[in-house]
């Protein structure tokens, strides 16, 4: 293991260097720009031999990635917020064509108003485009997740986005352990696509017009493929753990064994919550954290099981929804629990939009409020001036 101090962006760029993708097509956007900048420098210094396409927009970035992946290349890109939004049109085409593109995504609030800081509105809005979604808690997970993403993508023939919290992870330096280059290459292995558009001897037509008689079946297949991705994700996390000591699953339970009050969250907020859990546990309070690492496929049963013994649960959403019934993560956790016999009391907190800080006191207040969960509204806003 190589120990180094890396920001989330540096960690992802280092993973990309080790992966040495055949093709990278990318366009700069804060706060993901560095990933591509650092990677471009690797290219300029001869550390990778990727065909790099500095495109004129994110739309073209994802379009070029699709073309390259259909041609059998190992393909990566990086983006954020508006950039991902500009890719939205192409994201479901990528998954329908079953192309294993990996995106290093840095979570940033969607405009408007324009804002460059973290929330999850960009990737959460992309949750049903047929991509596997992995949320990293810190730089280490960003690095590890990027390597695993390549393996998951190629095993499932599905695209994967690994995301970090903008600035909070992307620009924050942490100590991480990196695999030696040859070990990283060994972990991801070689990639060969079965039928590529470069196969001139066996020509295939990709992206055909699919009407009433076939579209439905093909969408069903994408749905099946995403749900079936659970095992490959677990296998990659398990293999990584066995080899390098850091095991990954779909969810992570922290001090959940006898936890009565639980916070469910994604991304860097899990790190903050861990500290609070430790502190409150020190005072004898039965609190725990349930981290959702993989949001697509959604680990519904795993979450329901993990929460079945809790008394009260707060689901923290870093994006809002206008359904009046809670935000996306909450709604999905709630419906996962609905099928369970044992249901805790559950509430939703929308927090941290546009990079609004969430600190230890905020998390503590949520745990405190969970003591009197019956008095809470179903949907709450944490840290907003009303």
């Amino acid at each position: 293991m190589v120990v180094a101090a890396k920001t989330g962006n540096e960690a992802m760029a280092e993973a990309m260097r080790q992966i040495n993708p055949d093709v990278v097509a990318a366009y700069p956007i804060t706060p993901a720009t560095e990933v591509v900048m650092i990677f471009a420098q690797f290219l300029a210094d001869g550390l990778v031999d990727t065909e790099y396409i500095p495109v004129e927009s994110e739309h073209s970035a994802m379009s070029a990635c699709l073309g390259a992946a259909a041609a059998g290349a190992r393909v990566m890109t990086s983006t954020s917020s508006q950039g991902l939004a500009l890719m939205y049109e192409i994201l479901p085409i990528v998954s329908a064509l079953r192309l294993p593109i990996v995106v290093c995504e840095v979570n940033r609030a969607l405009s408007g108003p324009i804002n460059i800081h973290c929330d999850h509105s960009d990737t959460i809005a992309a949750r049903d485009f047929g991509w596997v979604q992995i949320y990293a808690e810190n730089s280490q997970e960003a690095y590890d997740g990027t390597l695993q993403a390549v393996k998951i993508a190629e095993k499932t023939s599905l695209p994967v986005m690994v995301s970090t919290d903008g600035f909070i992870i992307s620009h924050c330096m942490e100590k991480i352990e990196m695999l030696p280059d040859d070990e990283a290459k060994k972990f991801i292995g070689e990639y060969k696509m079965e039928k590529s558009v470069l196969d001139i001897k066996n020509p295939t037509t990709r992206g055909a017009l699919d009407l009433q008689d076939y579209y439905f079946e093909h969408r069903y297949q994408t749905s099946e493929a995403i749900l079936n991705a659970k095992n490959p994700i677990l296998e990659a996390g398990e293999e990584f753990g066995n080899k390098y000591g850091r095991k990954y699953g779909l969810i992570e339970e922290y001090k959940m064994e006898d936890a009565e009050r639980v916070i469910v969250a994604l991304g860097s907020t899990c790190g903050t919550t861990r500290d609070v859990v430790d502190e409150l546990r020190g005072k004898g309070e039965k609190v725990g954290l349930l981290k959702i690492r993989v949001f697509r496929p959604f680990p519904a049963q795993e979450i329901a099981t993990a929460l079945s013994n809790a008394k009260s649960v707060a689901v923290l959403d870093r994006s809002d929804s206008y359904s009046g019934q809670g935000s996306p993560v909450y709604v999905e956790v709630l419906s996962a629990l609905f099928k369970n016999d044992k249901k805790p009391k559950i509430v939703n907190y929308v927090y941290g939009l546009g990079g609004r800080d969430i600190n230890l006191e905020d998390i503590k207040s949520v745990f405190e409020n969970l003591k009197k969960v019956d008095q809470l509204e179903e949907k709450n806003y944490l840290g907003v001036r009303m």
Binding site: D49, S57, A64, V197, I200
Partner: protein, 309 residues
């Protein structure tokens, strides 16, 4: 140039039985361009007539590898394909030469796909972009585009009691792409196979980003008899409506120079999309079209043989 005797020996790229209209010029463009390649061809197409009529799942008319992504990104998609080819070739994972052709209609080229095309041209990928330009969004029912000519009737800028079809002239995309300083751009038509084959062949022989803008009469949107497609294409050249020329390494060359241009009415009259222009009171529009045609032709003539980029 490849001889007409040799052409039938090349692999037919597009099977019959596709669902293009009788008399459609788009498959003619696709076949003539691809057959001009001495090497195998990989095709990308934008959403549009060519794509929807040839790839209705589970059928395909394509005997070449074919990829469709979306409407506005045929050029960007192809830049990815070409990059993959170069990466895999460098790593010894693929052998032999392949030519890459990206098709787009005028909607997918002049309008919504313009940025993607401009980016790909600027980056200079080794590909040929072919616009099969039928001067409107024909696939969705004849809506106007940036390529629609002055006075033409379309469903989104129709002729009516007080308006007479499109108000503006088409933008000159061929010149705009030439201004990207790419090594080869050309205009051709459906109806002159020698010209189109020669230009496509030349484009394939040049490394870098190339652009062909092929005027493709559309019997549906232009409204004429299906057997007249090639004739109308040729009339566009004879009247100066669509000059046949190329710009190679910045030097402009008119490739078909009529001694005297025929009046534009001959071209306009054959098509119902211009029918309203022949109503009393609209003479001025035809005059405008004639004047603009003369002006653009004059610029080309004065630049013939000159380094313009």
């Amino acid at each position: 140039m490849v001889s007409i005797k040799e052409l039938p020996n090349r692999k037919e790229p597009l099977s019959p039985g596709h669902r293009a209209c009788a008399g459609c010029g788009a498959p003619i463009v696709a076949r003539q361009v691809i057959l001009a390649s001495p090497d195998p061809v990989v095709v990308v197409s934008a959403t549009g007539c060519l794509e929807v009529t040839t790839t209705i799942f589970p059928y395909t008319a394509w005997n070449t590898p074919f990829l469709h992504n979306a409407f506005e990104n045929s050029a960007a998609t192809m830049s990815g394909v070409v990059a993959a080819y170069e990466a895999l070739k460098k790593k010894g994972k693929i052998e032999g030469n392949i030519n890459f052709v990206a098709f787009g209609g005028d909607g997918g080229t002049y309008d919504i796909g313009f940025q993607s095309l401009s980016g790909a041209m600027e980056r200079g990928h080794n590909l040929l972009y072919v616009c099969y330009n039928n001067e409107a969004y024909m696939n969705t029912g004849i809506q106007r585009s940036g390529a629609t000519p002055r006075g033409s009737n379309t469903t989104t800028e129709p002729a009516g009691k007080v308006r007479q079809g499109k108000i503006k002239f088409a933008k000159d995309l061929t010149q705009i792409i030439a201004a990207h300083n790419v090594p080869y751009v050309a205009q051709s038509i459906v109806g002159d196979w020698v010209d189109l084959t020669r230009k496509a062949e030349k484009a394939f022989s040049i490394k870098g980003a190339k652009f062909l803008n092929v005027l493709q009469p559309c019997r549906l949107g232009w409204a004429y008899n299906p057997e007249e497609t090639c004739e109308i294409g040729r009339l566009a050249v004879d009247t100066g409506i669509w000059p046949s020329y190329e710009i190679e390494n910045g030097i402009l060359k008119i490739t078909k120079k009529p001694k005297e241009l025929k009046p534009v009415e001959i071209f306009l009259k054959k098509q119902a999309r211009f029918r309203h222009l022949f109503k009393p009171g609209n003479e001025k529009i035809i005059e405008e079209i004639q004047n603009e045609t003369n002006r653009r032709w004059g610029i080309l003539l004065s630049n013939d043989g000159k380094q313009i980029f």
